[in-house]
């Protein structure tokens, strides 16, 4: 097979540089410059990994102080103002500078080209640019948050953010605005890559679900982010020049900002979630050695989520003064978006049926994802019900619900994916025992942190409260105790992952026995991913075929 190019493409004489044995994307060049000027999607993924890990721990530190402060009803640890700045920082960093980018830019960047058998993303320079744009945005925001802080919460509701807040609202918004462009670039790159650069034989319906999930998430990245950008511009203009766009004093409507904001910020939850769902689809099939149950349904549920997620935003505004009719429409649509999520959960469960299930670390995280996401999704049904939302809106019930989705779902999925593809990224295995321990600690810590918050929420404890009535203390202490366990669970992987780089045993190209093109090259992969363009002849997840006949 000297020529791996098949019909469908016009043959072009194209010689690939010969590869010295053992050469991979990590050792092909050394030095800071070789990293900062790289256009290799794998190296950019590593750049993102490092950046995002730092940001995750900064956001986590803020959460720690918040939980410590809530140990006592009078909030003796920090003053109210500081507390407000802390939860704002936590939300802003975690949403925009960790959860939204993390799976697409780290795992997606690394794997999308490899999974479709391409040498790189469609626009490698834009990919690098996106990292720079993101980092600049992150630095501006971090500077704003550390030098003075911002106390609007991550939601920037007007007219508080536009008129009344006396903190660094403008620089924070500028940072978020800038980093938004990196989201758009990433999404654009993925969509273009999947449309035009699939390997011969890799038809749309042979694409792994990880890719479909990223495709769906990219739709949201590309089409939702600009609306946030515009909303931020308008608030910025209003704040800078005192012009009323959302200011009722000057004829504006503050609720309009909420419409624009949630038009972005509801779908954004699915940017966090869809790629994680893609990861779970890969992991569950691999470790149960089964074809995915209902490939077509899981696939279309991803696209369905991407579309429907745009139709439900005003369920964040049921008590915010929108019209009753509008609330009814959005409530009904919100239930629609629950259907595709349910389909996914059912199909993952069915995939386990008659499988050969190996309890490796990635699967533990994936099962954790399924459990926590199911709980998060089901409590979402409470919030979509207009009558109940009226009571639990803006309480800890909401907090618990979206942490189950964003942390229990998205972060769990990300951790699973990181553990699953870590051998591919680094060529090393991490400690089996410690990683399983970490999965367990995170799961237990998570449940203990956020389960009491459901009870607190139904009792009526509002969110963003620095002090609270004393009868809520026991549940808050439970939650804080859980948070400290959770913190241990998140720090632990940092150590054994780093340790594996030095002392981990080599993993070989395919330690889990997985299908999928990315496992068909050495670990770590060579600079151009594949020595010859692979030709795909079957769909993904053919774990039940005697001999892997997937790739020539």
């Amino acid at each position: 097979m000297s020529s791996a190019i098949t019909t469908g493409f016009v043959p072009q004489a194209k010689t690939r540089p010969p590869r010295t044995p053992g050469e991979n994307y990590l050792n092909v060049a050394f030095g800071v410059k070789s990293w900062l000027l790289t256009t290799d999607h794998k190296r950019i993924a590593i750049l993102y990994l490092v950046t995002l890990t730092i940001l995750f721990f900064i956001g986590g530190a803020a959460a720690t102080v918040i939980r410590l402060n809530l140990m006592t009803p009078n909030g003796e640890l920090v003053p109210a103002d500081t507390y407000n700045k802390l939860f704002s920082a936590h939300g802003i960093i975690m949403v925009w500078f960790f959860l939204v980018p993390v799976v697409p830019t780290v795992l997606g960047n690394f794997l999308v080209p490899m999974m479709i058998g391409a040498r790189d993303l469609a626009f490698p320079k834009i990919n690098l640019l996106s990292w720079y744009v993101f980092t600049i945005g992150a630095i501006i925001t971090l500077w704003a948050l550390l030098a003075g802080g911002v106390d609007t919460g991550w939601t920037f509701y007007t007219p508080f953010s536009s008129k009344y807040a006396r903190t660094n609202v403008l620089p924070t918004m500028i940072g978020i605005f800038i980093s938004g462009f990196s989201s758009i670039m990433t999404g654009l790159n993925f969509i273009a890559t999947m449309h035009t650069m699939r390997a011969p034989g890799l038809t749309w319906f042979r694409m792994p679900l990880f890719l479909w999930a990223h495709y769906a998430a990219s739709i949201i990245l590309v089409l939702a982010t600009p609306v946030l950008a515009m909303a931020l511009i308008l608030v910025g203009v209003e704040r800078a020049w005192g012009i009323g766009i959302f200011d009722p004093e000057l004829g504006g409507d503050p609720v309009l900002f909420q419409h624009l904001f949630w038009f972005y910020s509801h779908p954004v939850v699915y940017i966090m979630l869809l790629p994680a769902m893609g990861i779970v689809s890969e992991i569950v099939t691999c470790f149960s050695r089964k074809h995915i149950f209902g490939y077509v349904f899981v696939l279309w549920s991803s696209i369905g989520i991407a579309v429907l997620s745009f139709l439900v935003w005003a369920h964040h505004m049921f008590v915010a003064g929108q019209s009753v009719y509008s609330a009814l429409i959005f409530s009904a649509l919100s239930y629609m978006v629950a259907v595709p999520s349910a389909i996914k959960v059912f199909n993952w469960t069915a995939t386990l049926y008659k499988g050969s299930i190996a309890f490796e670390t990635p699967l533990l995280f994936a099962l954790g994802f399924i459990a926590l996401f199911t709980m998060g999704g089901l409590t979402g049904l409470f919030l979509a019900a207009l009558g109940v939302d009226m009571h639990v809106h803006d309480t800890y019930f909401i907090i618990a619900h979206f942490h189950f989705i964003m942390v229990g779902g998205s972060v769990m999925g990300y951790m699973g994916g990181l553990h699953y593809w870590w051998p591919k990224m680094t060529g090393r295995m991490y400690s089996d025992f410690l990683s399983k321990l970490a999965a367990l600690i995170i799961f237990v810590g998570f449940i203990l942190t956020f389960l009491p918050q459901f009870v607190l929420g139904y009792l009526g404890m509002p969110r963003r409260y620095h002090v609270y009535p004393p009868e809520f203390q026991v549940l808050n202490v439970m939650s804080s105790a859980g948070a400290s366990i959770l913190a241990v669970g998140y720090v632990l992987p940092l150590f054994y992952m780093l340790w594996s780089l030095y002392a981990g045993k080599p993993s070989g190209p395919n330690p889990w026995g997985a299908t999928g093109l990315e496992w068909q090259t050495p670990s770590p992969p060579p600079p151009h991913n594949f020595d010859e363009t692979p030709i795909v002849t079957t769909g993904p997840y053919e774990y039940s075929i005697e001999e892997s006949a997937l790739v020539h």
């Binding site: 609720v255 629609m336 629950a338 349910a342 309890f359 109940v388 009870v455």
Partner: protein
């Protein structure tokens, strides 16, 4: 210690009972689903765990009837949830006509409450039990949220707008009042108490509070103080329409449209008089924006609402209310609901 840890909020309004019923239904359905999924996952995980490294699995790619089953079935269950929730929500949005109207003004960081009979409270709200209460809320600065967990009642309080919510307390006692929408530094201190009293107790409480006349009386004084009476007079030289019997009627506008004289319209007409000009009149009214505070606006509104034919004060009258000043009936203001008669601006048009 655990004896005093509440796990479920008190149920102190008719709404609370309805919301909780739906909540328990959701708990039952979702709990069943959660147990089912967790059970299946655990069962499969243990039953089919890998016993040998070279274990083979059957190739199962799916089952379409099963897929459609678990796509369609949730839709029906969701439909029930939606309709149930929508039913509660819409009925909470429509106050009954006999509700007692109380006004709430939120500001950073306190709740100011005005009773129709003129009593004022701060961060406290006293209401009688078993009586529908309609709150009309507005904010002086940012968005707040008036939330009483024991009533399962919550509404954002938006500046520049009148929001409405109603509830009917069913149990006497003292309940938390929270601001649920983040509103700045002391957001967590924008809390208070709702006291639900027996009817007799409530009457006594009202009497024990100092009140300088009913809200409408106070509005009447403002009506004189701001010299609204100069133009909105009941005599032939009036330069603006008489406001008697205006509230709740349809008003024909100069540009051919019509509008309903509701709270929002009255508010707009005081702050932005040019916005909607009544047919047959000239836009001569100056704006009172910046002069009238939210609380004063509420008083003026109460006065206009209470104004019956023949009750417009005389133009040269002193600011003190006369003895026969209009009183707000205890059941609030009856509003025409079924047939809305068109408001006929009385007095002579000032057009040549």
């Amino acid at each position: 210690m655990f004896a005093e840890v509440p796990l479920f909020p008190e149920q102190a309004s008719t709404t609370a009972q309805r919301v909780d019923a739906l909540f328990f239904f959701l708990c039952a359905v979702c709990g069943t689903m959660a147990v089912l999924i967790a059970g299946l996952v655990l069962f499969f995980a243990f039953k089919y765990h890998r016993r040998a490294e070279d274990e083979r699995t059957p190739r199962i790619t799916g089952n379409n009837p099963l897929e459609w089953f678990w796509t369609i079935t949730p839709l029906f269950v969701f439909l029930i949830m939606f309709l149930w929730g929508a039913n509660i929500y819409t009925s909470v949005s429509l106050p009954p006509p006999d509700a007692l109207e109380i006004f709430v003004v939120g500001k950073q960081w306190m709740w100011k409450i005005q009773h129709p009979s003129g009593q004022r409270e701060i961060n406290e709200l006293h209401v009688p039990v078993d009586q529908p209460i309609k709150l009309t809320l507005t904010s002086e600065d940012v968005i707040h949220d008036f939330s009483v967990p024991a009533f399962r009642t919550k509404i954002d309080v938006i500046p520049g707008r009148y929001m409405q919510i109603w509830f009917q307390p069913t149990k006497t006692g003292r309940y938390h009042l929270f601001c649920s929408q983040y509103c700045g530094t002391s957001h967590a201190n924008m809390v208070g108490s709702v006291y639900v009293l027996e009817r007799e107790e409530f009457r006594q409480w009202l009497d024990s509070q100092a009140a300088t006349g009913s809200l409408a009386d106070q509005g009447r004084q403002l009506f004189l103080k701001f010299q609204c009476i100069t133009c909105h007079s009941a005599d032939a030289s009036a330069r603006a329409p008489v406001l008697e019997g205006l509230y709740g009627r349809i008003v024909p506008l100069k540009d051919g449209r019509t509008t309903v004289a509701d709270d929002a319209y009255l508010r707009e007409s005081i702050l932005y008089p040019e916005a909607k000009i009544v047919q047959g009149w000239e836009p001569i009214m100056p704006t009172f924006k910046g002069q009238v505070e939210e609380e004063d606006l509420i008083k003026l509104l109460a006065f206009i609402k209470s104004l019956k034919p023949g009750q417009t004060p005389v133009r040269n009258e002193e600011s003190l209310p006369p003895l026969d000043a209009p009183k707000v009936p205890p059941g609030g203001n009856p509003k025409p609901r079924q047939s809305v008669p068109t408001y006929q601006p009385q007095g002579k048009s000032n057009q040549p």
